[in-house]
């Protein structure tokens, strides 16, 4: 029977059915062939070489890049993966949102400064705690030429709620009782209970409005073939599957016209290929620069490397409270033994700040000074204190105990943090095992409890989709999706429910400050560093925002000539 090479990276063996008598090859040839057959094929194409991390210093966060001085015909942008589909209901990852934010617009809009302002709705009002009324901007045209009406809004939001549609944003609509047309240009959303997160999420892909006619005509193929029927400054052009996505300027746009006629997104999955394309000018710019390339791009003279607010923190996610980590003293000991500064230098390419907070400071932008004090003062320290850590581990009786941390080669923020945790544990008498997981299985840690069997913790970089710390802090509520450790505290749950029900920002953030304190003290995840966004622009172009707003703000329309 012919054994055939399986199509995965596991070991392969090739054999061949031989009929009748065995071939009598010459002795030399036989030896050569046998030797070659015995070499596992994968020796011929084994994995990537390890890169040495090159850190950079003097990282300053830029608020923005210089404004564009003129129009350009086209610019090329590097993205690390191809969006499987551009259907807005499943757009919940960097690549698809980076593209989609320029084509599809939402009821509200996230600004480059991470504030929320009116978008396709010119006014959002809240007559009572469970009602949100959206008055639509008149005269907005879809890419298919039709004018936007309340019907399109009811239809577009309805797709997110439809269970048959498996929308990634369905959770945002969990408290939505009804979405109805209350006027030709007015839509009323009724909630089953007050929900302070819902109106904020209307600035993300959860609040995208598309043309009902286009979506219905495309049917099952919406998002993969044909136009998207949205309202943004660019419309979808040629999508060369597996290669590139072209956007074309939409001349019927209601807002400020885009400065470039075309925006081309090139899919460059390999980190070094992405860096090479930026250096050679094959790509003019990109977000999410591989950390190991910071120094190379900065020193290249090909363009400028910017850093901006990212709303992202790097943490160690505790997944097993049944083992030694169930004792808070052990968690505190690990946190005290962790060399955060060393990790930022190596793992984040020097761009990042050590933190003892699970949430970024930028997420609290709307909070008054006293709230910030409550949220950030007297959190567990970030500095290393090995003596104290050793004593704590000993006191908890954890010395010599074994803990397992998952690691994977998906990025240095993961692999080097796992190594840092191992080093920290070893120094205080714990036995920390690394469990290496294939990049594809690493994703399964989030979705499959079986994949987390035998693992006590794993590195986790988390970003907020809205400028509200609750986006992260609600993860520790009983039964929350990312609450892998199964943490449960009735007091905490009550506070989460309260914060979810309070609309005035300052009042809500007061409650969130208490949540932040509780979660950080308990070390439900061990906070390590704040990680800013990185942006590279070559000398030809400028204008893109530096912050994570590019996920839901039509940033490509601001990109133009630098001269």
């Amino acid at each position: 029977m012919t054994t055939s090479p399986p199509g995965t990276r596991t070991g392969t063996r090739t054999g061949r059915r031989r009929h009748g008598r065995r071939a009598r090859l010459g002795s030399a040839a036989a030896a050569a062939t046998a030797a070659l057959t015995s070499i596992s094929l994968l020796a011929a194409c084994s994995g990537p070489p390890k890169d040495k991390a090159a850190g950079i210093t003097d990282v300053k966060l830029a608020v923005s890049t210089p404004e564009a001085r003129g129009e350009i015909d086209s610019f090329t942008w590097a993205v690390y993966a191809e969006p499987p589909t551009l259907d807005y209901t499943v757009a919940f990852d960097y690549p698809q949102n980076t593209v989609l934010s320029n084509v599809c617009e939402s009821l509200m809009r996230w600004t480059p400064g991470l504030a929320t302002e009116p978008g396709l709705a010119q006014k959002a009002s809240n007559p009572d705690p469970t009602t949100w009324v959206y008055d639509l901007r008149p005269g907005v045209r879809f890419h298919d030429g039709k004018e936007m009406t309340a019907d399109d809004v009811v239809f577009s939001l309805g797709r997110q709620k439809d269970p048959d549609n498996a929308a990634a944003w369905a959770q945002v609509f969990q408290n939505v009782a009804s979405i109805t047309k209350s006027g030709p240009l007015q839509v009323t959303v009724k909630l089953s209970k007050p929900d302070s997160q819902f109106p904020q999420y209307m600035a993300t892909a959860a609040g995208v409005i598309a043309s009902r006619a286009t979506v219905e005509a495309a049917g099952k193929d919406y998002g993969t073939t044909g136009g998207l029927g949205c309202t943004g400054p660019f419309k979808l052009g040629t999508w060369n599957k597996g290669q590139s996505i072209e956007l074309e300027r939409f001349d019927g746009y209601w807002g400020t016209r885009a400065k470039s006629k075309k925006a081309v997104f090139r899919v460059l999955t390999d980190p070094s290929a992405r860096t090479n394309a930026l250096l050679s000018g094959e790509a003019d710019g990109g977000y999410l620069i591989p950390t190991e390339s910071y120094a190379r791009l900065k020193g290249s003279g090909a363009g400028t490397l910017y850093f901006g607010e990212g709303l992202s923190t790097v943490n160690v996610n505790i997944t097993n409270m049944q083992g030694p980590l169930g004792d808070i003293r052990v968690r505190r000991a690990l946190s005290l033994a962790l060399d955060r500064t060393g990790f930022v230098k190596a793992g984040l390419g020097g761009a990042g700040t050590v933190t003892n907070s699970l949430t970024t400071r930028a997420a609290w932008a709307a909070a008054p000074e006293r709230t910030l004090k409550t949220a950030f003062d007297s959190l567990p320290p970030t500095g290393q204190d090995l003596e104290k850590a050793k004593a704590l581990a000993k006191e908890a009786g954890a010395t010599g105990k074994t803990l397992t941390v998952a690691t994977s080669s998906i990025g240095q923020d993961v692999s080097l943090l796992a190594t840092a945790v191992q080093a920290a544990g070893t120094q205080i008498g714990l036995d920390i095992q690394l469990k290496t997981i294939a990049p594809n299985a690493f994703t399964a840690l989030f979705t499959d409890p079986q994949a987390r069997e035998g693992i006590d913790m794993f590195p986790l970089t988390y970003y907020d989709s809205i400028t509200d710390p609750l986006d992260l802090l609600q993860n520790f509520k009983t039964g929350a999706y990312m609450n892998f450790a199964g943490y449960s505290d009735p007091g905490y749950d009550k506070l989460v429910d309260q914060a979810s029900a309070v609309y005035p920002t300052e009042q809500r953030m007061d409650i969130e400050a208490k949540l932040q304190h509780h979660a950080s003290e308990q070390l439900l995840w061990i906070p390590v560093a704040e990680w800013p966004t990185a942006l590279f622009l070559n000398k030809r172009i400028t204008g893109a925002p530096t912050t994570i707003s590019y996920m839901y703000y039509p940033w490509a329309a601001d990109v133009g000539a630098s001269q």
Binding site: M1, P5, A29, A32, L36, Q243, S280
Partner: protein, 320 residues
């Protein structure tokens, strides 16, 4: 053996192999951690209704065998199903990406055969310093993983010299694509060139030592003719039998080379689909790979008797 009997047997063998392979891959996917539904929801929590709806749409809750036979039934009717991740028909997904991969593999194959045979022949015939130089070079080639070759080629010819694009498969016509795929095809071919050159060299050296070559020379047949007719032709059979190994290596390594050069072919698609447990896509690509592998084996078996008259159809052995 008659050709008809040979054909019937081979077709039956192929069908059985494809069936076995499809079952093994399906089972492996089934046992791997992760649930496609949760990947579909991008790792967000979902309402029980939504999960139930996806499970129903893609039959994810059905027992293993039922799912497998449902899939098999659809495939026999020419329906490869819908990709769970890409939310589009698998046939369309493959139609978009297969040409790129096939062109890459064919380009590599041409390079491997042309350069590999030439080097092996020159090494065997010239001997001496040339032979040693080729041996050293091919040792280096065999020892270089295609991933490393990719990085080196990119660094030198794309970034430093700027002769070739550093990645992608182009979005112009065929010429643009060939230009884009030049470096990847070399990276993919390097190891195999070394391998083929060595096999050719040793087969030819063995033929050079054989009696009929000595006889031919003593009869005054010109040396060039001796090499072409007696030596090279005799060693071709040995070389041909490595065909299956060459093609399977190309098929496996294309996954890594496509990733290194960001060429969105089916190699890369396979890797991504395995990640998200996209059953229909992984199944379809695996079948294509297995089928290609078997077709090459068949071609080798058909060609062998033509190259080496001592080999009869359907047997890989020379009648001694």
């Amino acid at each position: 053996m008659s050709f008809v009997r040979f054909a019937i047997r081979r077709v039956a063998e192929m069908a059985a192999t494809l069936l076995t392979a499809s079952f093994v891959v399906f089972a492996a996917m089934y046992l791997a951690p992760g649930n496609p539904a949760s990947f579909l929801l991008a790792g967000r929590s979902a309402s029980p209704e939504a999960l139930a709806s996806i499970n129903a749409q893609y039959h994810l809750d059905d027992p293993f065998l039922l799912r497998y036979f449902r899939w098999l039934g659809d495939v026999l009717q020419g329906d490869f199903g819908r990709s769970i991740t890409y939310r589009t028909d698998v046939s369309r997904l493959l139609a978009d990406r297969l040409p790129t991969t096939l062109i890459l593999i064919v380009m590599s194959l041409v390079v491997v055969v042309a350069v590999g045979l030439l080097l092996g022949r020159v090494a065997a015939v010239r001997g001496g310093a040339t032979d040693s130089a080729i041996l050293v070079t091919t040792t280096f080639a065999v020892g270089t993983p295609s991933f490393v070759a990719a990085v080196l080629l990119q660094g030198l010819f794309a970034v430093k010299l700027g002769w070739f694009p550093s990645s992608g498969a182009g979005d112009g016509g065929l010429g643009d694509m060939l230009w884009h795929l030049t470096l990847p095809s070399i990276a993919l071919a390097l190891y195999l060139i070394g391998m083929l050159a060595r096999v050719t060299r040793s087969a030819m050296l063995e033929a050079l030592d054989s009696e009929h070559v000595t006889v031919a020379r003593s009869r005054g047949v010109p040396e060039r003719q001796v090499i072409r007719r007696h030596v090279f032709r005799n060693s071709l059979g040995t070389v041909l039998t490595t065909g299956g190994l060459i093609v399977s290596t190309l098929l496996v390594c294309t996954i890594l080379v496509e990733t290194a050069f960001s060429i969105g072919g089916i190699g890369q698609l396979l890797e991504l689909s395995t990640t998200t447990k996209d059953f229909p896509t992984v199944q379809a690509i695996s079948l294509i790979i297995v089928a290609l592998f078997m077709i090459v084996n068949l071609i080798v078996d058909l060609l062998l008797p033509l190259v080496d008259p001592r080999v009869t159809l359907g047997s890989r052995s020379a009648a001694v």
